[in-house]
């Protein structure tokens, strides 16, 4: 019983990290109607940036976010302007190919710079732990969860309490209409992509402290993130957060109750079940536009 309780607690704590990474992805989809298959690679890139700062200047991974998040924001804006903006027709399909190329580019570059050996971000709070309910939780999970709440909170405030947020939400609802009422859709898109990528950096730091990673780690990551945002309903931030936590809890509990090898399967199975009942996902709206 303790094991199951423990699995639920870990599911919530790690679910927070996935919520953070998935919210960036779903935001990008919502604003631009593109599937950013490179999101996982950007998360790993963020982790490696912090890894480089840790190794060369001994900067604490959490502190390094002060540098990496703005840097990743800029990288995101540049990627959007160069690769995403030119896409006109067949956006969804073409964006997959283009962002997949970005992912392979990042993977190749990281492999060249850091080799394909697995690494992990180290800090004192990674092995130090405290006891609760009869088991130990490493501080890193708690700090990571705190960071996720902070960043997610900031995104919600930005979207629902600022003028820029209104512009973003208008673009998400209807691109053409937003343009007609004077929203600079290109600018909003670039900034939204930048924000999505910079949340990837934050997610990358926590992922990199709780998981061993190498440049190829983005494949497993992206398949999970995509599943999460479809489950939540494409373009829905709230859906992404809830789906992430639900999925990670189910995965961790499956690992304990059945077997770790079926954990990821349960994750995908949940998606199938939800799609049979509700094809638009938890919080999605029925897509009626042509594809």
């Amino acid at each position: 019983m303790t094991l199951i309780l423990e699995a639920v607690v870990f599911g919530i704590l790690t679910g927070g990290v996935y919520a953070l990474m998935a919210s960036g992805l779903t935001l990008i989809f919502g604003v631009m109607r593109i599937i950013n298959v490179g999101h996982g690679a950007l998360v790993i890139l963020g982790a490696y940036l912090s890894f480089a700062l840790l190794r060369s200047a001994n900067i604490d991974p959490f502190v390094s976010l002060v540098i990496t998040m703005p840097a990743m924001f800029l990288i995101g804006v540049v990627l959007q302007v160069i690769f995403i903006r030119p896409l006109k027709d067949d956006r969804e399909a073409l964006s997959v190919l283009v962002t997949y190329a970005i992912a392979l580019g990042i993977e190749g570059l990281l492999g060249y710079l850091f080799t394909n050996n697995f690494v992990q971000l180290n800090a004192w709070y990674e092995t130090a732990s405290f006891a609760v309910f009869g088991f130990h939780i490493a501080y890193v999970y708690l700090f990571g969860f705190g960071l996720c709440l902070a960043v997610l909170g900031a995104i919600f405030v930005l979207l629902y309490r600022t003028t820029f947020g209104s512009a973003v939400r208008a673009t998400m609802l209807n691109r053409t209409a937003a343009q007609l009422v004077g929203v600079n859709v290109d600018r909003v898109s670039a900034i939204a992509f930048g924000i999505g990528v910079s949340t990837a950096a934050a997610g990358g730091v926590i992922f990199g402290m709780t998981n061993a990673f190498n440049p190829g780690s983005h494949y497993d990551l992206i398949s999970r993130l995509l599943t999460i945002i479809v489950l939540g309903g494409l373009g829905s931030l709230r859906g992404a957060v809830i789906a992430a936590v639900a999925m990670l809890i189910i995965e961790d509990v499956t690992a304990v109750v059945i077997s770790p090898v079926w954990a990821s399967f349960a994750f995908f199975l949940l998606l199938v079940i939800v799609l049979v009942v509700r094809p638009q996902g938890l919080y999605g709206i029925r897509v009626r536009e042509r594809i």
């Binding site: 088991f135 130990h136 709780t210 998981n211 497993d220 077997s259 770790p260």
Partner: protein, 411 residues
């Protein structure tokens, strides 16, 4: 498990080659021996990119060092040796194409093996089809040998499956009062790790050690905390983990987090990575950790001392930095050299016949092969003591007593 984009480029280039090379190419003659004194090329597909690139590069170091030594003493039976490496990007499809190209287009005289069972299995059907001997340093899982291929030779002291046998023998040799009563197992679902753990479990259960937990986890797992939790909650006397390097480190960190100290801890791989492993878990935490090994830098095997000093002279570092892939690759060359001398030929058919009989001396110790290329030796149990790995079992090879129970992690 990842594949390269470079394949597309290769495809286009090869397609160009198809149109150019359209007229009359002769097929290779694998059975004929090159004329005495002519230089020869030995072809290897190695993983220079992808998941196995770390091991692939270490294989290249071992092969290169052997070729250098071989040429210094006049070549392989008088033939100057050049190594030719092609990248397989850790992909099973590419490794097949690579060996086919090495044999039919580059017309290499001999081929040596790639890294891991996964790539060795498809490669061995190609080399066998062309009648080539296939001595290989790193494919030793049961699935390598059950295909009935007689031209393959696994150049390590023992089949991978038997790696933990000396550990189980040591556990069962302990006096009844000290002998552990319970064991917990957790292994990656991988042809390298799982057969070892399953065999250890069978042997320990037969010896009366009760299994309190057995879990298999997928190879893509990266967050090991929940898995470690399950091992810990079983609270067994000994813990046997089917790990490769990242999980070997992660489990130890998680045990530390949870203040868990089993009486003995053995991991299939990871702790054999020398200083790299010590840096990752912290030297103090290595104390008492066990790992099976076929080779260690201070082993008193023929030529090993020279190998170690040459390796350091060529690539730098300390004896503790030498990855075990390198001596394994070096042994492949040693075995082939002795087989060639015995057969007085470097023709593949002669080498295959010679490799099937007699014993060969390598830096990993003596070895002989059965009809399916399985080595007949046993591997050793090695333990971290005072920041170094030392052989502790069987007593014939041991230089120190096993430390038992294992001291607590430093926390």
């Amino acid at each position: 498990m990842r594949k390269p984009v470079s394949l597309a480029v290769t495809g286009i280039v090869s397609l160009g080659a198809l149109s150019l090379a359209a007229c009359g190419s002769s097929s290779p003659s694998s059975s004929g021996s090159p004329q005495a004194g002519t230089p020869i090329t030995i072809g290897v597909s190695v993983s220079l990119t992808g998941d196995f690139s770390g091991d692939g590069k270490a294989l290249v170091q071992g092969y290169d060092l052997w070729a250098q030594d071989e040429n210094a003493k006049g070549g392989l039976l008088g033939h100057h040796v050049t190594m030719k490496y092609v990248d397989d990007a850790s992909s099973t499809t590419q490794v097949v194409t690579n060996y086919q190209n090495l044999i039919t287009q580059d017309k290499v005289a001999l081929v040596f093996g790639p890294f891991s069972s996964l790539l060795t299995i498809p490669a061995s059907t190609v080399t066998d089809r062309f009648g080539y001997a296939f001595p290989e340093p790193a494919g030793g899982g049961p699935s390598v040998f059950n295909r009935g291929i007689h031209s393959l030779f696994f150049v390590q002291p023992a089949p991978v499956e038997d790696n933990l046998v000396s550990f189980t023998q040591w556990v069962l040799s302990l006096p009844a009062a000290q002998r552990p009563a319970t064991a917990a197992y957790s292994t990656e679902d991988d042809p390298f790790t799982q057969p070892q753990v399953d065999k250890a479990r069978a042997l320990l259960e037969a010896g009366g050690v009760r299994t309190v937990s057995y879990k298999v986890y997928p190879a893509e797992t990266t967050d090991f905390t929940p898995l470690a939790q399950q091992v810990i909650s079983a609270n067994a006397d000994v813990v046997i983990l089917g790990t490769q390097e990242p999980d070997a480190v992660a489990f130890i960190k998680a045990f530390q987090q949870q203040h868990y100290n089993p009486k003995a801890l053995v991991e299939t791989a990871g702790p054999d990575q020398g200083s790299d492993f010590a840096t990752k878990v912290g030297t103090a935490n290595t104390e008492g950790v066990m790992v099976p090994a076929g080779w260690w830098s201070s082993a008193k095997t023929p030529f090993n001392a020279t190998f170690v000093s040459e390796f350091i002279a060529k690539y730098g570092g300390t004896p503790g930095d030498i990855p075990s892939d390198a001596p394994e690759a070096y042994s492949v060359g040693e075995v082939v050299d002795q087989a060639a001398q015995k057969a007085h030929s470097i023709a593949n058919s002669a080498l295959i016949a010679a490799l099937h009989s007699g014993t060969f001396q390598t830096v990993q110790g003596p070895m002989a092969f059965d009809s399916l290329g399985r080595p007949n030796g046993a591997s050793f149990l090695v333990q971290w003591q005072n920041g170094l790995t030392v052989p502790v079992y069987p007593p014939s090879a041991a230089v120190a007593q096993p430390e038992y129970p294992k001291p607590a992690f430093s926390g």
